[in-house]
Symmetry: C2
Subunit: 572 residues, 2 copies
C-alpha cells in the first residue's frame, strides 16, 4: 500500500509530480491498442470503464498472443519494496523500447489511504493517473462492493428477524459486515440490540471491503452470468443442522448482482507516460488471492504484446496464488516473472531485524545485504518450480550504494545464473526500467514452461503440504483437530477438488512474522480450513488474520486538506 | 420515496417506460440553458456534474431573474402523493407551454430502494433518467457521504483509543456511524469489543446516510470554503466537562472535505421529455431540512425562467423548512407553491384511517373526500402565511372518479378562492400538467410577497411556539425539563439566533401519527433540542426519530434480478 523508492531529499510529492503532467484523453490513450470510444464508458476525460460487450468482441476477434509478465517480490519490509512502482515503470519501459505494453494493477482501498501515509497508485515517475481519484472514490467499485456486501448482511439479519424460516444459527453466521475504512472499533461488535423491534442480538464484526469474498468473486468472474453464479453460492451461515446457507437461499443474489453490474467492468486509466493501465479489483492476499481482476488481465492480454501484472505481498503469497489459482481459473500462462528486491529488504533479512525499524537500514552494509540474499534466493527457487523464467529487479533507492547494488546483481548473475537489472523507475520513469525490460523480453521470448505446483485433484492435505514444504520451506504441517474435521467434511461434500488459498503472515516465509531470511526446522500450523465457495477455493488459516486494520496514533487523515480551488494536500 | 399515480392496470413498469425512450447526450440537453461541455464533468453520456468554476461564472454573469416554484404536499399517506412525479411533470409542462424550465429534486438513497418497492426518480412519463443509475450508485454522492461520515467516526474512536487527549466522554459521543442500507440490526450496537487491541467498548449505532449532518451540510454549502467551515464546526461529542468536541478538534475536517469535494458539485440529468434536471442531495425532512442542495437550486435559478424544486413530506415539514431555513440561508424567494393533493390522501383523512390500509381507499367515496378537505385547507392556509400564492395540484390516479376530482377542484376554486388544476403527468408527461403550469405562471407572475414566519433573532422558545401554533395548529408547547435546559444552555452559548428544524411525525399535522385531518385541542411535546452546528440550525425533537429504517418481511431486494446483458428487473 505504499509508494516506495522515493527520494527523501526530493521536495516534490507524488501528487505534485502527477499535477505537473499533461494527460491525454483516455480515448486517445487506448485507441492505438484497439479500444474505440464506443467500447468505453467515460467517467470524465481521464477514466473509463470498458464495456462487457467490447470485451466479448475483443476476445472473439483477437488472438491472445500477448506475453504475460508477473511482478512479485521477496519477503518485504512493512513498507513494501515497490512492486506497483516497478509494474507501472516496466510497462512504460516496454513502450520505450518499442514494445506495445499494458499494465494491470490493483485498485486502492480507502482504509489504508487514511491510515498509513501512502496510496496504491505507484509513485514518482511511475504512477497511474489521476492518482487522487484512483486513491479516493475512483469509479466507485469499492463502494459498490461495500453496498453489495452489506445488502447481503442486511437480508440475512432481516431473514432471522422475520421468522428465520431457514433456521439459521445466529452463532454460525460467517458473513460479517464490510466497511472501506480502517475502523478498529468495528472489528468486534454486538448488533441487533434494542429489543423486539430491532431484531436478534448477536456477535458480529466488520471486515475491510477488500477482504470481502465479493471482492474475490468480482476479481475472478468472467461475465455477468459467472458473477451471479459465484455470488449465489457464497456460504453466509449454517443452519441449526450444520448445513450451509447461501446468498441464493436468502434471496439476495439478484440485488447484489445489480449493485455490482458496473463494478465488473474493468477500469482503464493511464500511467504518467501515457501507457494504458487497467486498475481493477483488489482482494486481500491472505484470505483471498491478492491480484487485480481476471477480467482486466484477460482483456489486456488480447490488446498488446506485453501485459505487466502484479500480485500482492511476497512471492510465497501473491505469486503462489497467481500461479496456482488465478492462472488455472483464467487459463493463463505467465511468460516471465519479475522478482522485486531492494537493498533495504535484503539488509532487513541480513540483520534478522524484528520488530522492523527501517531507519536503522539506511547506512551502507554490504555484509548484511549478502546475508539477506538467502531470502531472495529462496523466492527465485520457488518461482522456478512453476517453470517460469525469473528476472530480479533491484528497485534502487537513492541511498543505496553501488557496492550494495553490485553485490545483489553479481550474485544473481554469477551465483544463480539468472537475469537481473537495477530499476530506477520511481525517479526516472520508463527510462529507468529499460535494462529490466530488455531482460524480460529475452526471458519471455523463449523459456517458459509454466505448470502449477499441485494437482487440483490431489487431497486437500496434500495440496497444503506441497505449498508448505516446497514454497515456505517447512518440514511439514501440523493440522489442528478442527482442521482435520474441516478437511473431512469438505471432502465428504465434494469440495476438495479446488485450489487452496493459504492465509499466512507476509512478514516471513514461515508462519512466524519475526523469522527473517529462510527459516529452518519449523512446522506449519494449520488451524482452520473454510470454503470460499463463490471464489472457488479453500481458505487455509495458519493464524488469526486481521481483516480490519486500525488507524495509527497519527493517521494520515489528520494531515490532509483541501484548498478552496479543490486541490488536495497531505494525501500522499 | 415512492412513485405514485401509477396505473395498476398498466403492464409497463417505470423501468420499461424509461428504456423505451431515446435520450439525448446531456451535453446537448443543457446547452440551450447556457451550460457548455467545459462546464461539465461527464459521467457517461447521460450524467454530469457541473463544475464549481462554472457555477461561479454563471452566478457572476447571469441575473437571478428566474421564478422559483416550490412543490409540496398535504399530509400524505405512507406511499406519498406524488410530489416528485409532479415536480418532474411540471418542469416538462412549463417547457411544453414555451417557458424555459429546470427541475431540481432530491437524490435517492439505496436503503429504501431495497426495502419498499419504489425509487425516488419520479415515475411513469414524469421521471428522471437514467432512472436505474439514479436509484443505484448514481454519481457516488451518497457513497462519498457515507465514507466521510465514517471517517469522522473512525477518527473519533481512534482519538479515544490513542490516549483520549481531548478527554472525550464515551457516553456523550453523538456521532453515530452511517450506512446507506435499511439495516435494522445496526440501529443499536456495542462497538470496540475485543480487549485492549481494539479500543474502548461503548454503545453506538448507525443512521441512514441521508440522516447524517454531513448530508444537511452538503445541501447548504455554497462553496468548498463554506463546506469546510461547516464540517469543521459539527459537534461530534462532549468532553467530561460538557464542552463540545468538533470535527476540527479531532483533525478530520480536511480528510472529510477531500472525500466530499466531488459530491459538492451538482448532478445534472434529464427528464423523460428532455428537461434538464438537477438531482443533488437528499437530507431527511425531520432531523434535517429535507430539500435538494442549495447549490443546485442556486445555479438552476440562474439558468432558466422557471425552477421547479421539491421539499419532503407534507408542507408542515418540508415547505416550512424550505421557507424558514433554506430560503433564508440561500437568499431565495419562492414565487409560487404547488400543493400536491390526491383523492386517496383526502379519503384517508376523511375516514380518519389509522393504521393505513390503502387498499380500502380505492372505492369512490365523495363524502370522505369532502371530509378530508380540512387537511388540505390547513396546508393552504399555512402556506399563505408565508405570503406566497398557492396552487393546488390534484395528482389524479386512474381509479379516481370525476365526482371525486371535481369535489376537490370546486372546493379550492369556489370555497378557498385559489387556483387548482388536476395533474396527470404520471401517465401523460408534461402534457398532463399544462393546466397546472398555466395556473402557476399566472400565480408566479404577480403575487408573491414572501417572508419567513418567524424572526431569526426571536428566543428559541418563541420560534418553536410560532411553528407549533401557526403551522401545526397546536394550542401550545410543553417543554420537558431537558428541553428547557437545552434552550438555556444554547442561549448562553449564543446559539439561539438560528432557525429551528422541527422533527415531528409526517403522518399527521400533530405529533400523534394516528390523528388525521386537522387535530384540535392538543399541545406539542418537545423533548430535546440540539444544535446541528454544521448545518446551522437547532433540531427540535418532538418524539423518537427513526434514523435507520429496516427491511419489510418481503423486501424489494428479494425480487430483483440482473440478466446476462446487464438489464435489471424488479428494481421498481
Amino acid at each position: 500500500m505504499t509508494t516506495t523508492g522515493e527520494d527523501d531529499e526530493s521536495t516534490q510529492t507524488d501528487y505534485e509530480i502527477a499535477q505537473s503532467v499533461e494527460t491525454d484523453p483516455i480515448v486517445d490513450v487506448v485507441e492505438p491498442f484497439g479500444l474505440s470510444e464506443d467500447d468505453l464508458e467515460l467517467m470524465g476525460e481521464e477514466k473509463a470503464k470498458v464495456t462487457l460487450e467490447a470485451i466479448e468482441r475483443i476476445k472473439r476477434e483477437k488472438d491472445d498472443d500477448g506475453k504475460l509478465v508477473l511482478v512479485t517480490g521477496m519477503t518485504p519490509t512493512p513498507l513494501g519494496e515497490g512492486k506497483t512502482v516497478t509494474t507501472v515503470g516496466l510497462g512504460q519501459a516496454f513502450n520505450q523500447i518499442g514494445k506495445d505494453a499494458l499494465v494491470a494493477v490493483r485498485e486502492p482501498s480507502l482504509g489504508p489511504v487514511f491510515g498509513v501515509k501512502g496510496g496504491a497508485a505507484g509513485g514518482g515517475y511511475s504512477q497511474v493517473l489521476p492518482m487522487e481519484d484512483i486513491n479516493l472514490h475512483f469509479t466507485g467499485d469499492l463502494h459498490a462492493l461495500t453496498s453489495a456486501h452489506n445488502l447481503i448482511a442486511t437480508m440475512l439479519d432481516n431473514h432471522i428477524k422475520q421468522g428465520n424460516e431457514l433456521n439459521i444459527s445466529v452463532n454460525q453466521v460467517n458473513w460479517p459486515r464490510a466497511i472501506d475504512m480502517n475502523d478498529r472499533a468495528l472489528r468486534e461488535t454486538v448488533v441487533g440490540l434494542g429489543g423486539d423491534v430491532t431484531g436478534v442480538p448477536r456477535e458480529d464484526g466488520f471486515i475491510l471491503t477488500a477482504a470481502s469474498e465479493l471482492m474475490a468473486v468480482l476479481c475472478l468472474a468472467d461475465s455477468i452470468e459467472d458473477l451471479k453464479a459465484r455470488i449465489g453460492r457464497i456460504i453466509v451461515a449454517y443452519d441449526e443442522d450444520g448445513d450451509p446457507i447461501t446468498v441464493d437461499d436468502i434471496g439476495a443474489t439478484g440485488a447484489a448482482s445489480i449493485l455490482l453490474k458496473d463494478a465488473l467492468k474493468p477500469n482503464v486509466v493511464q500511467t504518467i507516460e501515457g501507457t494504458p493501465a487497467f486498475v481493477h479489483g483488489g482482494p486481500f492476499a491472505n484470505i483471498a488471492h491478492g491480484t487485480n481482476s481476471l477480467i482486466a488481465d484477460d482483456v489486456a492480454s488480447h490488446l498488446s504484446e506485453y501485459l505487466v501484472t502484479e500480485a500482492g505481498f511476497g512471492s510465497d503469497l501473491g505469486a503462489e496464488k497467481f500461479m496456482n489459482i488465478v492462472c488455472r481459473f483464467g487459463d493463463m500462462e505467465p511468460d516471465a516473472v519479475t522478482l522485486v528486491a531492494s537493498v533495504r529488504a535484503l539488509k532487513y533479512h541480513g540483520q534478522e531485524m524484528w520488530p522492523p525499524d527501517l531507519d536503522e537500514l539506511e547506512a551502507e552494509d554490504v555484509d548484511a545485504v549478502e546475508r539477506g540474499l538467502e531470502n531472495l534466493d529462496k523466492h527465485v527457487t520457488n518461482l522456478q518450480k512453476f517453470g517460469v523464467p525469473v528476472v530480479v529487479a533491484l528497485n534502487r533507492f537513492p541511498g543505496d550504494t553501488d557496492a550494495e547494488v553490485d553485490a545483489v546483481l553479481d550474485h544473481c548473475r554469477d551465483e544463480l545464473g539468472i537475469r537481473a537489472a537495477e530499476s530506477t523507475v520511481f525517479g526516472e520513469g520508463g527510462e529507468g526500467g529499460i535494462e529490466l525490460a530488455e531482460n524480460l523480453v529475452d526471458a519471455a521470448e523463449s523459456e517458459s514452461e509454466y505448470e502449477p505446483l499441485y494437482d487440483i485433484d490431489a487431497p486437500i492435505k496434500e495440496k497444503i503440504e506441497t505449498v508448505a514444504t516446497e514454497i515456505y520451506g517447512a518440514d511439514g504441517v501440523n493440522f489442528s483437530s478442527d482442521a482435520e474435521d474441516d478437511m473431512e467434511r469438505l471432502t465428504d461434500h465434494g469440495f476438495d477438488d479446488v485450489p487452496i488459498c493459504m492465509s499466512k503472515t507476509f512478514h516471513s516465509l514461515s508462519d512466524d512474522a519475526s523469522k527473517k531470511g529462510v527459516p529452518e526446522d519449523w512446522t506449519l500450523d494449520v488451524n482452520e480450513i473454510y470454503p470460499s465457495a463463490g471464489a472457488g477455493f479453500l481458505v487455509v488459516l495458519t493464524a488469526d488474520v486481521l481483516t480490519l486494520p486500525g488507524l495509527p496514533g497519527e493517521p494520515a487523515a489528520a494531515g490532509m486538506d483541501l484548498d478552496s480551488d479543490g486541490n488536495v494536500s497531505g494525501l500522499f
